[in-house]
Amino acid sequence: MKFFRSLLAKYMFIILLAISIVQIAYLVIPLFVLGIAQNGEDDLSKGAEIESKVEGKWHAEAKSLKNMTEEAIVQHFESWKKQYPKASMFWVGEDGTLLTTLNVTEQLPSKWTPAFTTKFIKERYGGDPFTVIAFLGEDESNGFIVFEIPKEVFTPPIRSVYEKYGAFVFFGVIAIILFFIIISFLFFKGIRKRLLHLQEAMELRDVDGLPIETKVKKKDEIGQLEHSFNRMVCELRESKNREQKEEQLRRELIANLSHDLRTPLTKIRAQSYSISKEALSKDGKQAIKAMEASIVSVDALIENLMSYTLLMASKYKFEAKEINVIRFVREQMTTWYSVFEKEGFEIDIELHSFEKNEWQVDPIWLGRIFDNLFQNILRHASSGKYIGVETESTEHYDAFIIKDHGNGMKNESDAKGAGIGLSIVDIMVKGMNLDWDIESSESGTKIKIKHYK
């Protein structure tokens, strides 16, 4: 990543910009003031003169005055008046008499006592109006002349700029601050938006359950993050594909194994069937029958073993949907009815509607549960010659009950083969959020498959 494309660079640029604006402002304001000062020279240049200059000039001119006549003084005052129209001037003679005044608005005594003079000097020192007192001529014998001018004339230019252009400067500063805030806001808003977009992309799921790759538009830090995210999604997808392939291989292996076991089993059946067609002794017939039973048994065992292996590895396909279970079980019974009928069972079916017949189950799994239970009855409880399938509704659950009158599970010597079949039932029942229980005694077994309300 190039440094200039990074967010860090952008942020530093904004900070630099902000600092520069402050610096530039320091530069601009004096220039601005100077510009204004130059434009408005008439009003301000007089004021721009400093007080001491006026003071010096007043003293110097007073000292250099030769002619001490009233006319000369008045003339002197007039010439100052031209330069400083707001100024007022007066002359107090050597004996304290107020001799000449110009533009004086205040009340002045016509006779100045030393006390008043002292008071006057004390009052005016550093005060407003700006006052300069100078002796006329070389010595004090001609009295003194006083020059008064309002302090505002000497107001520094910057202050008049503030007074005149204050609002403008104030709004200018506000505008600069606002500008900086807006730039920062836009900068962080941009970052936030992209982060939120990335978060959204992480939460969205494609059809395969993986996040969707996001478009990388910029090559900054967030761009890199998006890039990493995309790479991660890619890796996830690859890993999922790999897993699916493995799963496929596993299924394939199990299916092939099952196929390879069943083919010889079919051959055995072919042979036994051929033998059964021959004239056989009673024992021979008995042996063939036993062989047949074993074939069926091994077949079921292979099937169960395969299913169990898949189930334990959570690779058995599961697709739950809402089905009408009463109808489903009834249809399930149509195939098993003939089998039990052929074996001479008493068949008792009582299926009544539940309050809610729709259960969220995988029909293949539910079918498998019933198949396993019925197969067990056929194989291990056929002595009872009875099968009952009924429904039960209680306050807490709806249930299917499968009953037989066999010898019960504990007493069945060869019931061990039923173990794996029942394990499958157990996994499947729990996998579909159902529950089941078994009551088994010497007079029969009762299995309940319960769906809690």
């Binding site: 299924r251 199990i254 299916a255 099952s258 196929h259 390879d260 076991l261 069943r262 083919t263 089993l265 079919t266 051959k267 055995i268 059946r269 072919a270 042979q271 069937y273 051929s274 074939i295 077949d299 099937e303 395969m306 396909k317 109808r327 009834r330 249809e331 019974m333 149509t334 195939t335 009815y337 003939s338 008792d348 079916i349 009582e350 299926l351 509607s353 293949i364 399938v389």
Partner: protein, 222 residues
């Protein structure tokens, strides 16, 4: 005599099935692979296919047969028992039987398929009835009179005959004949079955042709 095309690569199984089917009166053409299926499929009434075969597998052969000969029912006979295989097979095939199978079951399934495709005998003897299945004419053998059925009774009986020996639930019957979803508690079907029994049973109070299978549905057994 029905002609069966049978494809099976396992010699022992192939010989056994061929022998058994021939003994039961079928004419069997047994092939060990699917390569020559096109030359033998003509005029066959049913095809029985293994899945794992050298060269083309049974699914591909079955799909090819079905594409060109829709009227030939296909029964898959395989040692592959996984649900996925069954589902794939039943996508095009009419039935799927897993090995090791009992020959009686194979015959029963063949007969169901032949009946469904109406390739079986025109005449079906059902207790005191003689039914000409092609045009569904029903003759009472005892009186030699033809029994006239109304539309729904006719379709109901036809549905039973197509699914001979199978137990049918009320839902299956209603949806098969009326073509609508069955609503729990609807008495229409029962009423029509009662009328049908009145016409075809000797004693409608004790029906023997249309059996009631308590808790499940009905069955017509040959």
């Amino acid at each position: 005599m029905y002609r069966i095309l049978y494809i099976e690569d396992e010699k022992e199984i192939g010989q056994w099935v061929t022998k058994d089917l021939t003994e039961r009166g079928y004419e069997v053409t047994w092939l060990e692979s699917g390569e020559e299926v096109d030359q033998h499929i003509a005029f066959k009434d049913i095809a029985i296919l293994d899945v794992m075969l050298p060269g083309l597998d049974g699914f591909s052969i079955g799909k090819r047969i079905k594409r060109e000969n829709k009227e030939i029912p296909i029964l898959m006979l395989s040692a592959r028992t996984a649900v996925e295989d069954k589902i794939e097979g039943l996508n095009f095939a009419d039935d799927y039987l897993t090995k090791p199978f009992h020959p009686d079951e194979l015959i029963a399934r063949i007969e169901v398929l032949l009946r469904r495709y109406q390739k079986n005998d025109d005449v079906l003897d059902l207790q005191h009835l003689k039914i000409y299945t092609k045009d569904m004419r029903i003759i009472n053998k005892e009186t030699d009179e033809e029994i006239q059925l109304t539309g729904k009774q006719f379709y109901l009986l036809q549905y039973f005959i197509r699914h001979l020996n199978q137990i049918l639930t009320k839902e299956q019957l209603y949806e098969g004949v009326w073509g609508e979803s069955y609503i729990e508690g609807d008495k229409t079907l029962m009423v029509h079955i009662r009328y049908l029994r009145e016409k075809i049973e000797i004693n409608p109070a004790k029906p023997t042709i249309i059996e009631t299978i308590r808790g499940i549905g009905y069955r017509v057994k040959q």
